[in-house]
Each structure stands twice: as C-alpha cells, then as structure tokens.
Amino acid sequence: MAQIFDRSSNALARASLILTGLIVIALGVTLNELQRSPWVTRQGQRADQPVPFSHKHHVEGLGLQCQYCHVSVEKSSYAGIPPTRTCMNCHSQIWTNAALLEPVRHSWATGESIVWTRVHDLPDFVYFNHEIHVNKGIGCETCHGQVNEMPIMYEQNTLQMEWCLNCHRHPEENLRPTSEIYNMDWKKPSDLNPVWCTATQVQRGVPTAESVSCTTTDPGKQMLMPAALQLSLSNAPGGRAVFATTSAKFTSQEALGGFLAEHYHIRSARELSSCEVCHR
C-alpha cells in the first residue's frame, strides 16, 4: 500500500486552510470597502454633461450667488435647476456664438429641456429637504463641497446613509450662522478665526435667521451693529424684544455649534436620526 498523498501535501493542506481564511477575510474587507468606494457612490466622478458648466468660473470667477440659479433652495425641498432662460439672461449677450453653449441655444430655440445628468442623486425613497437645512445653519458647502473650486460638478461626499446620519447625530459639528450659508470658504471657528454671535431673546415664531446674528469681525472694535441684528431690532414688534448687549466669542466649532444648536432650536440627535425624518 503506497501513500496516496505526496509528502508535500501536508504543507499544502495547511497552507490552503490558512489561505482560505485569509481569502474570506480579504473578501469581507473588499466588499466593505467596495460599498463605500467611488465606484459605487460616484464620489468625485464627473458626469458627462451636455454643457461643461463650470461652477468655479461662475461662482468664483463671476461671483454669482448660489440662489441666482438655485432659486428655491430656501423655500422648497428642491433647490432647483435653472431653466434655460437663466442661462440666456447672460448668454444672449455674451459668448453668443460659443460652440460649447450650442445645447443651451438649441434648448432656447426649440423649447426642449437641456438634459443634465443628476450629480447628487439620492434614492427615490429618501426625502431630502433643502429648505430646512439651509434655514437651520447647514451651509451648501457642508454637503456639496467647495463648489466654487469645481470646474465640473462632482459629488464631494458619499451621500450614503451613514454619511447623513453622521451629521444628524452630531448636527453641532457642522452648524454655522445662517448668514454664512452661501459662504463657500467658511472656516470653522478657531483661535485665529473667532466668531462673535449675539442672540436675541428666545422668541417663538421668529424665523431662525433673525434670532441670532454672527460676525467674524470683532464687534467690540466696530461701531456698526451687524446687519442682521439691526434687522431684527427694527422688526421687533412693539419693542418687546430685549437684546443682550454683549456678544459671545467663539473659538471652536464645538462651542459655536452648541450655541447655534440651542438658538436655532435644532432638534435632538435622537429626533434627527429617526427613520421618518428622511423616509416616508
């Protein structure tokens, strides 16, 4: 009776056992990475658009306001994609013959939509609402990244549920004064970049933006009151409101976020991470 297996088979058998284990682990790790990879999330991918529209050029170069195009961002769940007319407001005057803009002119002439490819595409069962985020101190840049630095639009963040939850569980980490919502270059406060905020007395029924005013220049050194605060002073019915005369200085996001969360009446993390907030 001879050996069935060669001498080497012992080593082979053990090695393959170990290898199997490693492969299983590697597969798990790969899948785990894959589900968060840009291949799945399209993070950073530049979609093929009919017109190579540059946010960098229009925002940074020309200084257009976000709301010039995305008109309903403050008043609707949907920020709005500009109609062709918005493009033509300028491009009937300038770059009227640019080849790149042919789709825009075609749309204007025929009345057919310019068919863009959605860059920030949430699943249909997710109900994201721009209006409440913008009104409660989440800046455009927090989610969309520094759009003013994007020649072609791409998705800065994964937009996956874990990413959403991350902020919904710790909203204070990303809150900023509502006056800075459209500021693409907003930096979280630090010792070098402090933020001063003044809160009016807690008033119910006053829009969030009017109950707190913030500035990045030291109000002590400045005679003028911040514009927003003046606004709320003059708007206060019957002079009922009494204001704090001193403003608080914030040198960390933690402190500012906590202050804003309190004054903007940000709901608790438990409320914000409840399923019905996004799914209906």
């Binding site: 009776m1 001879a2 050996q3 069935i4 297996f5 060669d6 001498r7 080497s8 088979s9 012992n10 080593a11 058998a13 053990r14 056992l17 939850l165 438990r270 991470s273 409840s274 399923c275």
Partner: protein, 180 residues
C-alpha cells in the same frame, strides 16, 4: 516540516485489542515513550497504556464558548444601545432578555467549532502524508480490523534490532520497519 530520511519506527501488528494493550503496557514499562497505538476504533486502554492522559480539548471548547457568548452579547448591546438606539415597540434599548437567545446560540456555535477544529488542530490534522502509510500492512487494517503499535525511532531507547526483538516478544502478526 523538514523532510527526513531513514526509519520512522517499528510497527507491530496485532489481531486483537487485548494483545495491543498488553504490548503497549509492556513497551511503556520498558521505558519507551515515543510510541503510538493505531486502532480502528477508540481503545481507551491503549491510550492509558502509553501514558496519554492530558487532554486540552475541553479547555479549548470552554474558551471558545465564552468568547462566543461575550461577542454576541456585547454586539447586541452595542447595536441596540449605542450604535443606533431606536424606540422599538416602546421596549428599552437594553432589552437584555431578548439578547440572551442569540448570545446563547453563539456560545454553542463557537464552543462547537472550537471543539471540532480544536481537536483537529491538537491532533495535527490535516496530515495527509504520514510515514506510517508507508508501512505495507498499515492501511490494510489500521482503519478496519487490525491493531498496531509503533515504536518510533526518535525514542532514545530505540534500536532497530533490540526493539524488533522486544516487539516480537508480544507475538504480533508482524513487525515491519516504517520508513519516512
């Protein structure tokens, strides 16, 4: 393992377990230590005869079981209390009575896997190649109806001639030399 040359040991074949046990006892008392018996079913007496008592399978199983218990219970608690606490049916986040069941199952799962794979590992299996299989008669009977005693050459008392004579004293069916 390094490939070795030469003789692995001497293999005595017996027809009955009783003969094997007698031979094994004899060899043990003669001072042989590096030896083993090969039987087609579990002959506990033979193991005792060659002085094998220590058995760590139970310990491995216990450790495995406890690990399973702790792993699952802490996973459940972490998930329900910290990772994503949700009000489910008005029950507390830390619903420990419910957590008992999966934790219990994992205790058994991990303990069982430890018992099985621990046993194999302690036995050094898989070992598809073994010198004993070189013996011409080993595979004819070791797993069906014959009983073998192998005195290994690495034993300090081992001597090809003396040991063969020693084994012949137990009236085996045969004594063969096993090569690596």
């Amino acid at each position: 393992m390094p490939v070795r040359e030469g003789t692995y040991g001497l293999l005595a074949e017996f027809d009955t377990p009783s003969q094997l046990v007698r031979a094994a006892k004899g060899a043990y008392s003669a001072g042989y230590r590096r030896m083993d018996c090969y039987t087609p079913y579990a002959v506990e007496e033979a193991a005792e005869a060659i002085g094998f008592h220590r058995n760590t399978v139970s310990l491995v199983t216990l450790i495995g079981g406890l690990l399973g218990l702790v792993t699952m219970f802490s996973l459940e608690t972490w998930i329900s209390v910290w990772a994503f606490p949700i009000n489910v049916a008005g029950r507390p986040y830390y619903s420990w009575p419910a957590f008992v069941v999966p934790a219990y199952e994992w205790t058994i799962l991990w303990a069982g896997l430890s018992a099985a794979f621990g046993m194999l590992a302690l036995c050094g299996l898989p070992q598809l190649y073994h010198p004993l299989f070189n013996a011409p008669n080993f595979r004819n009977g070791a797993t069906s109806d014959k009983f073998f005693l192998c005195l290994e050459s690495t034993d300090p008392r081992f001597d090809m001639v003396e040991t063969r004579e020693f084994l012949d004293g137990f009236t085996p069916v045969s004594v063969v030399e096993v090569e690596y």
